[in-house]
């Protein structure tokens, strides 16, 4: 707006003030500009909104098409190749190249669950402990040192974790226990290290959200710091801490390469901590490239991928239920 038109506005306002009956007829330049319909801005406003909405809609499209494509491929094992679902899920023998071929994926499923559970058992106490340390015991050191460290750990690529497991952990286990080294234990430890930062940062948020009043009340009653943490803080942050652990488990369950490098990849039922095992992800990673699209063997791998997908839906459901709990507590 130029100075001149500003002047004219003031002038026209004065005119309006002087001759009240003529208000409707004498619109100032600004009035005209404000009241007339600006086509360019209107179009821009509508298209902008539409583009933003299309981008958000794309998220839905992607999720639906992932579900559709993986499911249609994964179900063909049962619909086209005629493998029975019960046999597939509970069979303990995996011999897709044998005569007749046998597709029992229980060893993979058990392997995935065991390695995930082991990782969570190791990482949950450490992660929640670190979160308590960061918020309750030593916030200064926690914020300045521990938090950046945790953020860096999140950023390290999973292949690098797997590689370190392969060069440090596997030989160490081999020498200590006089076994192969590639094992459930190695996989669990590598995954624990990988999910530790996830658990720590989510648990930290949950603990920080506990109102200070609760702590003060407990301390005023004469409780020690640990009693306050254990009985009050952890108690009210429990859903958040569980969310942290489940998030970590979801990550561990779906991790492919780091696990594949250290667990040995033998398809028998896991017997002990030091036994080499297989997981759903490692089975897919190793064989998807070597099998021909459309063969029953290949389709069985897609069914395993479908299991992974369904499992991540289950994890999300658990997370949603935990999230609702948190709201109720507040």
């Amino acid at each position: 707006m130029s100075r001149r038109s500003e002047g004219s506005t003031i002038a026209s306002n004065r005119i309006i003030a002087d001759h009240t009956p003529e208000v409707g007829e004498r619109k100032s330049a600004i009035d005209r500009k404000l009241l007339t319909y600006n086509k360019r801005q209107f179009t821009e406003n509508v298209t902008g909104r539409f583009i933003a909405m299309a981008c958000a809609g794309l998220l839905v499209v992607v999720v639906l098409s992932i579900t559709y494509f993986i499911a249609s491929k994964g179900l063909s094992t049962f619909l086209i190749n005629g493998v029975s679902l019960g046999e597939f899920l509970t069979g303990v023998k995996w011999d897709p190249e044998g005569e007749p071929a046998v597709y029992g994926v229980l060893p993979f499923i058990l392997g995935s669950f065991l390695v995930t559970l082991l990782a969570a058992l190791i990482a949950a106490p450490l992660g929640i402990g670190a979160a308590i340390f960061m918020t309750e015991i030593f916030p200064g050191f926690g914020k300045k040192v521990l938090k950046p460290v945790i953020e860096l750990l999140v950023g390290i690529p999973s292949v690098v974790y797997g590689y370190v497991g392969l060069t440090l952990l596997v030989p160490f286990i081999r020498e200590q226990f006089d076994v192969l080294g590639f094992s459930l234990l190695a996989g669990g430890l590598v995954l624990a290290l990988m999910i530790l930062p996830t658990i720590t940062s989510v648990a930290t948020d949950a603990i920080e959200a506990v109102p200070q009043d609760l702590r003060n009340a407990s301390l005023a009653l004469g409780a020690t710091r640990w009693q306050t943490i254990w009985n009050v803080v952890l108690h009210s942050a429990l859903p958040g801490c569980l969310t942290a652990v489940v998030l970590g488990m979801a990550r561990a369950f779906g991790e492919a390469l780091a696990v594949q490098m250290v667990i040995g990849n033998t398809t028998k039922l896991p017997g002990g901590l030091l036994d080499p095992i297989s997981t759903l992800t490692s089975g897919i990673t190793l064989n998807m490239g070597n099998t021909i699209q459309g063969t029953p063997y290949n389709n069985a791998l897609w069914s395993m991928a479908l299991l992974l997908l369904l499992m991540s839906f289950v994890f999300i459901m658990i997370l949603r239920i935990l999230g609702r709990k948190k709201l109720v507590n507040k």
Binding site: A52, P157, L309
Partner: protein
Amino acid sequence: MRAKVLDRTATVVLTLIALLIVGTLVGLLGFILSQGWHKLTLDFLTSAPDIVNAGGGVGPQLFNSIYLLVLTMLIALPLGIGAGIYMAEYAPDNKFTQFIRLSIEVLSSLPSIVVGLFGLLVFVNMTGWGYSLLSGALALTVFNFPLLVRITEDALRNVPRSQKEASLALGITKWRTIVSVILPAALPGIITGVILASGRVFGEAAALLFTAGMSSPNLNFTDFSLNSPTSPLNPFRPAETLAVHIWKVNSEGLTPDARDVADGAAAILVLAVLLFNLGARWFGSWLYKKMTSGTN
């Protein structure tokens, strides 16, 4: 008395846990960098890998990783920012918005191998491109999409309401307000997040195994046409990235110095992550100061 002893024990244990975590990171970084340090020569960084003999480098892989990151961000950034704008500024509180939120959750918790397999079906087989950079970039876009939406949405929501209200009160349309007032104010947050997300893309491997492929053709670094099969810039050629290379030389490598090559590549990846991390912090706060005329 028992309560006090317990309190002290707990403090000691928790401190030990914190030290253990810091120690693990320092040990991890120290191990990777000390193992790979001697490999970080210009020759290793620029020469092509050797399939049978020792002495190969990771030049093409390094280039592929960077190029793939650029391609991915070119596709994913506009989509992520667009969807972030919708979620922060437009999304009404209804069933559709809830469904989008659910989709974001699902996408961000999908195993990356599943994203890779989806990419194999759709971007590799259905498009007929085969293993290619573009398929890899699209798979990584799917992988990165929810993260970018979250980053943008959070950054936009952190912009003070008064700025938006001031702009709207001046009679500026909502879209103009978003583009020329809110988005610039949210830029430092968005950029910090995007750099961190880039670090994730740089190290991702599982989603790329079956989309960008596990091989790299002989590249001719003087040929920059987009459709020659040996051109480094051709988006339709297969491209093995650094992270995939680490996995490959360990699981099916034939060279006698596979361990050495993996050491070097791991060191590069970790250095890149450190750079991305520090870069994000530094650049974000620099930009924030620059834009808000902060003093120190």
